[in-house]
Symmetry: C3
Subunit: 132 residues, 3 copies
């Protein structure tokens, strides 16, 4: 298992972690198989989306804020229920395919850590299992 | 492959299955690798979220009910289209990392079966593949 | 790694790819393990849902359109921000359990490619890792 440390700076923020994940896969010397990226936090998530135009990240953040507003008479006393709900909608894990020692991504795809209740110090765990 | 049986009691219900999944992983004697938790139902799902304050589960249920109301002129004749849609938003599978014979979870994380059209008898399947 | 080619015909479309995925798993001769289905596009996704009544697909499409409308003052200049957002809500990957040389699916479950910005030529990648 490998670990990436992330220090988020905003309350809601989408952070590109593609290079860190690809480096871990490359250094593992495993040429093909599966790679799971796992977020061990309940108010953060991981997604795949466009890495070319940063405005896509803003549109995702703004739409999730509209669908799950910060204040909505939630019962969770900590006050961050919206962040928990967004985490479950986006998801805590993504699994990727490793081919020729690299994660296979589409031309425009990047791997993004989603902070929904920052700023905080966060971790992402990576595990790799070999294929046949 | 392993199986967990769940008997849900409410129409919409989030059930903590962390202990059952961890026991299966422990008994498998596999010390590191990946573990997939799979829900073989089209009106249920699996998520990871906070296990400390049960109000988080209620906030997730209430928000999904607001976003995908039970009655909304759906075309699916069985009358449970909302449950199908929630299942696709939350997802049928989660993949976890196994380390030292245990699924790696964050301090506040639990694994939750999401019933969207109960009460029903449900199953969850577990598969484990070893790492390197 | 295996590949499925898909040519979508509509702007928003949910395409059943269960048979193609099952054939790949069968031909791999791997009897048990995990199978990841990965979509290398930022305006498409993969989900699991009911394959019996096609109206379920329409209800999913219509609800996502209502939650994430095509026009909503997005900042992404290409004009397809809604498709990107839906892709992150549904997800780019699903992981399945292989048992007896087949993906384990519930009675009513099928595997569906979700096109959110078609018509386009699309690909889906499949990777399989053996269990113990």
């Amino acid at each position: 298992m490998w670990k990436i440390n992330i220090e988020t700076k905003g309350h809601t923020e989408i952070v590109d972690i593609t290079d860190e994940v690809q480096k871990i896969v490359r250094d593992s010397k495993i040429t093909n198989g599966l790679c799971t990226v796992y977020v061990p936090h309940t108010t953060a998530a991981v997604t795949v989306n466009e890495n070319a135009d940063p405005s896509v990240k803003n549109d995702i953040i703004r739409t999730l804020d509209r669908l799950v507003p910060w204040n909505d008479r939630y019962t969770h006393l900590e006050g961050n229920a919206a962040a928990h709900i967004k985490a479950s909608i986006i998801g805590s894990d993504r699994t990727f395919i490793i081919r020729d020692g690299q994660i296979v991504l589409g031309t425009w795809q990047g791997i993004f850590f989603c902070e929904f209740d920052g700023p905080r110090r966060r971790k992402v765990y990576i595990e790799i299992v070999p294929g046949v």
